[in-house]
């Protein structure tokens, strides 16, 4: 018991080592938050292009080209590991440019997540009864207005649980940030471990932080689901 107390102090208190965790947490949260926002924006845009191309009878050239670009993006992003994407982004795309590592991480995870969000939202758009779209158009609303005010809100509600899962996956996936020497929670824990030679407490500490964060995110999504469900009562 006494031993555990000493190890706790060594790993978390001494030399302000807790700062590795709190600074790491800040990075993890900032990267996750902005990557989620970016992912949703990319995802919605791609989902709209893809479902437009699928539903209209004779898609014009612009839609066909956009749809083709989207499909390449989806294939590449979903067909390669996020870690490789992160390394390519850092060492190749931004290799000779001086940008913050956080920005590199946000872009990587946002672009990565966008591909998954796109397919989730697309399935949501497909799940909305076509009559909703037709009613909107028959009132004189244009395509974009009908999608924005009618179809996408309903699609979003239908896929919120799946989106929640994607956000949780993204939050945990940011743990590979250490590969570009960006100090997130995982990288912070690793740094402490290399200083104290104690594998247990830093790693369990990091695990606990992720667990709590994910629970928090889960609760947030559940609350949003409940709020969006008022119109079913």
């Amino acid at each position: 018991m006494e031993d555990l107390k000493i190890r706790f102090i060594t790993n978390f208190i001494k030399d302000d080592r807790w700062k590795y965790f709190t600074n790491g947490l800040e990075t993890t949260y900032i990267v996750s938050f902005f990557a989620i926002v970016l992912g949703v924006v990319i995802g919605v845009l791609i989902a709209v292009v893809r479902s437009t191309a699928d539903t209209i009878e004779r898609p014009n050239l612009v839609i066909r080209i956009l749809n083709w670009i989207c499909r390449i993006y989806l294939t590449v992003i979903r067909g390669t590991p996020a870690m490789i994407q992160l390394l390519i982004m850092y060492y190749i795309i931004f290799g000779s440019v001086d940008v913050s590592k956080r920005v590199v991480a946000i872009l990587t995870f946002g672009i990565n997540s966008g591909a998954y969000v796109a397919e989730i939202i697309r399935s949501g758009i497909m799940s909305v009864d076509r009559g909703q779209f037709e009613a909107g158009r028959s009132l004189g609303l244009n395509y974009v207005q009908t999608m924005w005010y009618i179809v996408i809100p309903q699609a979003f509600k239908n896929v919120l649980p799946a989106l929640g899962n994607e956000f949780i996956t993204l939050l945990k996936e940011t743990s590979i940030c250490g590969y570009i020497a960006l100090t997130d929670v995982t990288h912070g824990a690793n740094t402490v471990r290399s200083q104290t030679y104690d594998p247990y407490l830093p790693l369990f500490g990091a695990a606990l932080i992720y667990l709590i964060s994910v629970s928090f995110l889960s609760a947030l999504v559940t609350r949003m689901e409940r709020r969006l469900r008022v119109n079913e009562r």
Binding site: D129, L139, G140, I150, N231
Partner: protein, 247 residues
């Protein structure tokens, strides 16, 4: 037909095919201002497709549709401008599930006609009162009965001040006890002089309210007449057969 009767829809050689299946076969018809045209016919004969062509929810594959003298089927035409003036009521109501009743009714007036929220809401409340549903303004569609939903769908269209209203089997999805309340709203509209095109199986209503009845069969208009002649002295053998089955 008096000379000043204004043609609202002038339909010329309208054709529609889905792939190789021809659903509408060179339909010629006119809809005049103030008329109530009722369309009847067997299931699958193309009634919905015909009605949906009138606001271009189905793009014709042949022929032309002139609305108030202008060719809607011209590829350069602004479809949204036509649709504002053509109300549509669907069999399955299609109220916007994510919006309250009031929001259902004010969305298009605000976004399309650029009305202020206050103005759009005042007008919507007026119409809700007219169909006796003002206390449902803040309810969501899922909280209403079928008959209530369909009455809302009708007044939602009226918020756009359409020149004509299209009804595609507006009472077919309703429990029998709710059919009457929806037909009553439609009857009032007809009495006010609204131009209406109605696909329905309610023969009594067609006879009472219709100015003309069309029989659509195999993608063609096989007979058209005043309701009395249409029902009492049907001529086309297919119509005779159809009426003997449904009445």
């Amino acid at each position: 037909m008096s000379a000043e009767k204004q043609v609202l829809f002038d339909i010329k050689g309208l054709c529609k095919s889905f792939g190789k299946v021809q659903v509408l076969d060179h339909i010629d018809a006119q809809i005049y201002k103030g008329e109530v045209v009722v369309i009847i016919g067997p299931s699958g004969s193309g009634k919905s497709t015909f009605l949906r062509s009138l606001n271009l929810l189905e793009m014709p594959t042949g022929g032309r549709i002139l609305f108030e003298g202008k060719d809607m089927t011209d590829p350069r035409a602004n479809i949204n401008e036509y649709r504002q003036k053509i109300g549509m009521v669907f069999q399955h109501f299609n109220l916007f599930a994510n919006l309250t009743i009031l929001e259902n009714m004010t969305l298009a007036p605000m976004k399309v006609l650029k009305k202020s929220k206050e103005e759009a809401e005042a007008e919507a409340m007026q119409l809700l009162k007219r169909v006796g549903l003002e206390e449902k303004a803040n309810a969501y569609p899922a909280q209403l009965s079928g008959g209530q939903k369909q009455r809302i769908a009708i007044v939602r269209s009226l918020c756009m001040h359409p020149d004509v209203m299209l009804f595609d089997e507006p009472t077919s999805a309703l429990d029998p006890e709710m059919v009457g309340e929806v037909l009553a709203v439609m009857r009032d509209l007809a009495l006010e002089g609204m131009t209406m095109v109605i696909v329905t199986h309610e023969m009594g209503f067609a006879r009472e309210v219709g100015s003309r009845v069309l029989f659509v069969d195999e993608g063609k208009i096989k007979e058209e007449n005043t309701p009395a002649e249409f029902f009492d002295h049907p001529r086309h053998p297919r119509l005779v057969e159809f009426l003997s089955k449904v009445i």
